[in-house]
Subunit: 198 residues, 4 copies
DNA sequence: TATGAATGAGGCTTCATTCAT
DNA sequence: AATGAATGAAGCCTCATTCAT
């Protein structure tokens, strides 16, 4: 019983509405009504396109992290030096105050869930894998260029790089100050460079 | 006086129960009943000691971060070299797989809330201030010792240090692998040392 | 003319689908979607052919009881002795495990409704009238043959005959055992014979 | 976690309210609100005493059939001849127009469910077992008295007796005529006597 | 102090029905 | 004729909160 020709576009519309709603309201207080309101559809439509509320949220995490992965990947591909790629990666991650605020508010909720619920963890893992691929590429290239320490291995270094990026963005998020965004990006870049350098 | 003490004790009991419940269940699905069950008291008691559910959770964040701050502070005080203090700080933060898992599961939920709700952000800020005090102490001492870069300022460096700690612990949490805890602690220490070193 | 025929056919198709759906699901949990699925048409078609869900079900009862009446009537007409007719009537009513199970599951739901809603009761009454006509025919012939008691009147006896048939089939249905179907038919026949005999 | 000191009385109150609601509304249209209204409690109370709606209804069937079994059993015990016991049994089953109407409306709904859902069937089976015990007692005594056929066995005869009782009461219910209640009781008694007699 | 029965608001979900295509 | 997307009413259920004891 394949009941799924249903417009992909509308699914996206609902996912985006869910993202907006989550940005404003938080996981525990977001309701299907809020999501429907943001999508400017009736409550029933959400159920028409998604099995249930959980399914919307799971798919939202997958969609969000997928988009970010793609953006980061493509930004990195455009650069051809280790530092260029690293800067592109960080620039892409620090997309801007508004975007980072929206995303990290929601992402923190998802991480909290991922720490308890396997399905969220698996989706997040795919995101981490993408991040690791980028880090590995940067590290390998930098090592070839002779600017990054030969002693570093991708599997131990990659998580640290993502840790610094996420950690810095969380620190920035808590300042609630858009003006500091650039500063934190700078600090993040510097820190990662120090971690990688010979 | 006696009553006050007894009352304080029971408040703690309820807060600890809330912590356990949150560890297991997550912010959105924790109920007062769950908390009461963990505290082995009736549901009414929770309302007797706390205005409402929100009050329990707000106080829990304050209590948790307060305890961690105190532990970290005292661990650092026992050391008298920059590296000693730094190691003590990180050891204290990486208290162990079980404790870190419990805490970070709950803390991620709180961070998600803090990103939206001022009262949580303020409490978290107090925690960050305590972390910054430690970092500043470590940095200053290291600079005196000549092992840390003189160019680093506490206000820009402290958040990065905490970013790396939290970032690494989140990365570890997502692996769901107790055995990797030591590895992540090690990576965290190494990364911070590189960030600080001359 | 052609359209009307085609239309009638599709109505039957939907009614039969409703019957199948009801057999499986029960009155309270059968949905128009289930009916549409069984009929292999879209949900809209059901509304195209029937005013609303209730109309489908009302018409289903009429259709089902009509078919059974016709079958019983014609089976009885083929026999020419009182016992022959009675046996034919009971054989027809005890059509077989699969058919009886399907029908009585649905019929019990309808009887429950008929006990509250006039339109169902009226349709059921037409069925009872048909049963009464058969019983009367059997009784009259048997009295002429001298094998049935002269003291019995059709209006008091007919309901008892149907009571025994329905009662026995309900008892059998509750056993959930196909093998007992024959036994219950036999018991039913014997009981009715005793009730009618001189 | 035995959370059940909860007043048995209130459970009964709710069950009785459910019975009233079902009598009026039918299985598919009865709501927890209706039940709560009949019980003159809030909707939440029903959930406080019962796991869910299904649990109310399952327990209702058990309670209703249990009460009827008890009444029939005790009525039969007071008599000491086969015909006396049989008459008492039937009198008890034909308790009166109002009671029979209420009960059989609800019971037909339950039988419809019992034909599909094991838990209902099992409860109904306990009721049938009780009926069979009575029939067996009547039959055995009547055979000793020499008024009932020695060829009848309890296991084949008991279902027929209950079939005639239920069948007749359903026939009566469909007449929607209180005045015919006595007539149907009489017919029922006569029919069973004929079935049992030598 | 402590209990837990009771309330009712509000969420998720189902589904009959409508309607544009 | 037929489809299936969309709507929204209504049901079940959860749970924070209140309150009598």
């Amino acid at each position: 019983m394949v009941r799924y020709k249903k417009s992909e576009e509308k699914r996206k519309q609902i996912l985006y509405a869910a993202f907006q709603a989550l940005t404003e309201s938080g996981y525990d207080s977001v309701t299907l009504q809020t999501i429907a309101d943001h999508a400017e559809v009736s409550k029933g439509v959400v159920h028409y396109y998604f099995e249930n509320k959980e399914a919307v949220l799971v798919e939202l995490l997958a969609w969000l992290t997928g988009k970010i992965s793609a953006k980061e990947q493509s930004a990195v591909q455009e650069q051809h030096t280790a530092t260029g790629k690293l800067a592109a990666y960080i620039d892409s991650a620090f997309a801007g105050p508004a975007q980072n605020r929206s995303f990290y508010r929601v992402y923190l909720d998802f991480l909290a869930r991922a720490s308890r619920i396997p399905v969220y963890r698996e989706i997040n893992q795919r995101f981490y894998d993408s991040c690791a691929a980028i880090s590995t590429e940067v590290l390998n290239l930098g090592q070839e260029e002779g600017i990054f320490s030969r002693e570093l291995t991708p599997d131990k270094t990659s998580p640290v790089i993502r840790a610094i990026i996420d950690g810095c963005l969380i620190q920035w998020l808590m300042t609630d100050d858009d003006d500091l965004h650039a500063t934190f990006k700078e600090s993040c870049y510097t820190a990662i460079m120090k971690v990688l350098s010979v």
